[in-house]
């Protein structure tokens, strides 16, 4: 899907997304790191169930919401990767009913 234009410069950073290891580069935001690793779907829309992922890449669309280490949702495009973080897709929030 996406190819890095300048590779090899920055330090590799390892983290996991939905229990799969992802090798990113220092300075990547999480959305970029996942796209570069060929991962486009971050979650499924709660009403339509359609696969959703990063869209605007600038913090205004809120499509790229992920959870880091089980925490509250953050925007993947606005959050830098850190070594060892466990990133997961947003659960269906079944408890909101």
């Amino acid at each position: 899907m996406f190819t890095r234009l300048d590779d090899g410069e920055n330090t590799p950073v390892s983290f996991s997304f939905n229990a799969t290891e992802v090798i990113a580069r220092e300075g990547d935001n999480i959305a970029t790191a996942l796209l570069a690793a060929g991962i486009g779907t971050l979650r499924h829309a709660p009403v339509s169930q359609s696969p959703r992922g990063a869209f605007c890449m600038m913090g205004v669309c809120f499509e790229c919401l992920v959870s880091i280490d089980g925490g509250a949702p953050v925007q993947a495009c606005m959050t830098q990767v850190r070594s060892g973080i466990c990133v997961t897709g947003i659960a269906m929030q079944e408890d909101v009913a």
Binding site: A45, P46, V47, F62, L65, A72, Q93, V96, A97
Partner: protein, 386 residues
């Protein structure tokens, strides 16, 4: 029929000043009746109530002690489904109208009884056309199992909502498809009487037209003065919170929370005399959240992704003004704060009124002359806006 253009001079049948929900709804009615229309919209920094509202098509409680407004509101609500279908057929854009019924939540027994009294009076004033139920907490729980700490609610089956951004998009798409000219970044600085109508001047454009409609929201203040009209309006701020997309849990509408078709919840809201300030205050966000959590405790798990403040256009009694200038015949002015609800009647009644140069009897009570005398209505009936 296309608007006749020559360079930066245009000729049309009607110039509509204001490209929001009111202006575009009336313009849509005008083009349906075959008129050539130019719509002028403001600058990027203009206040835009059409993009900051809750999208309600709300009937409950409206027109207390003013039966003409109760009647007009109910007519609009009853016509909304057909209006929405027409726009969808023409443009493919769905204004997402639904009328599932609405709650006005009450937090104390006293509040609930006051609501019962005022709605009973409204029902009597409308000859029983307005129907409602007062539900205690158990009654609400039958419809909303997760409801929290409330005394009860007023329930009205005529209440519903639409998607205001889709509605505006549909109206503007339909207008352009039918040959209307929409120009933005055009602040009107002059309206000059001419032998056969008016010359409307804005940035880089002059339009000759037989008739003019002023539908520019808060900017109507300045425009009214150009045509000998004095219509008292002031801004009333509403702050709104927006959640991320959630699984469907609230199929009804209310002024506290609406769940939109894709799962997002709008949470309202405030009614503030904050002047022309559209800002959002942390204290308001906290208060809005706290109130919403009282009604929907499970919202504690939801994230707020966005907040905004927007300015309603409020008259002294909160009711519409439909009027026309005496000294500039053919110039009309409309101001409302329920531009979503009233869209179908704006498209129909106002377009006909403008082209026939005749104020319909149903709209005569809304003249701004009701504010001139120091009557009992002035300043005592500032309705809680929705």
């Amino acid at each position: 029929m296309p608007v006749h253009a020559s360079g930066s001079d245009l000729t049309a049948d009607v110039v509509v000043v204001g490209g929001g929900l009111v202006g575009c709804a009336v313009a849509f009615g005008l083009v349906q009746r075959g008129a050539r229309v130019v719509v002028l919209d403001g600058q990027d920094h203009a206040f835009r109530a059409s993009r900051g509202n809750f999208g309600m098509v709300w009937v409950q409680g409206k027109g207390l002690d003013f039966p003409a407004y109760a009647h007009l509101t109910r007519q609009a609500s009853d016509r909304w489904a057909d209006f929405s279908a027409l726009l969808k057929d023409e443009t493919g854009i769905d204004a997402a109208f639904s009328r599932p019924g609405g709650f006005d939540f009450c937090f104390t027994g006293e509040e609930l009884e006051k609501k019962r009294a005022s709605l009973t009076r409204l029902s009597a004033q409308t000859g029983g056309a307005f129907r409602f139920e007062i539900l205690d907490r158990e009654g609400v729980r039958h419809l909303l199992p997760g409801v929290g700490d409330i005394a009860g609610a007023a329930w009205c089956r005529h209440d519903g909502g639409a998607h205001p951004l889709n509605l505006l998009h549909a109206l503007q798409t339909a207008l352009e498809a039918r040959g209307a000219v929409l120009l933005s970044g055009k602040t009107v600085h002059r309206i000059e009487a001419q032998p056969a109508g008016y010359l409307v001047e804005a940035e880089g454009v002059r339009i000759s037209a037989g008739r003019v409609l002023l539908a520019a929201g808060l900017a109507n203040s300045g425009l009214a003065g150009m045509v000998g009209l004095d219509v008292p309006i002031r801004p009333v701020r509403g702050q709104i919170l927006v959640t991320g997309r959630l699984p469907p849990f609230m199929p009804y509408v209310s002024g506290i929370l609406r769940q939109m078709p894709e799962g997002t919840c709008l949470i309202g809201g405030t009614n503030e005399e904050a002047g022309y300030d559209e800002g959002v205050l942390t204290s308001s966000v906290a208060a809005i959240s706290a109130r919403a959590l009282r009604v929907f405790p499970s919202l504690a798990a939801a994230s707020i992704v966005r907040t905004w403040g927007a300015l309603r256009i409020m008259t002294p009694d909160g009711l519409p003004v439909y009027t026309r200038s005496q000294t500039f015949p053919g110039v009309w002015l409309v101001t409302v704060h329920s531009g979503v609800t009233l869209a179908p009647v704006h498209a129909d009644y106002l377009s006909r009124a403008i082209l026939e140069d005749a104020m319909p009897p149903d709209l005569m009570p809304f003249s701004e002359s009701r504010f001139v005398s120091s009557g009992s209505r002035e300043a005592h009936h500032v309705h809680a806006a929705r």
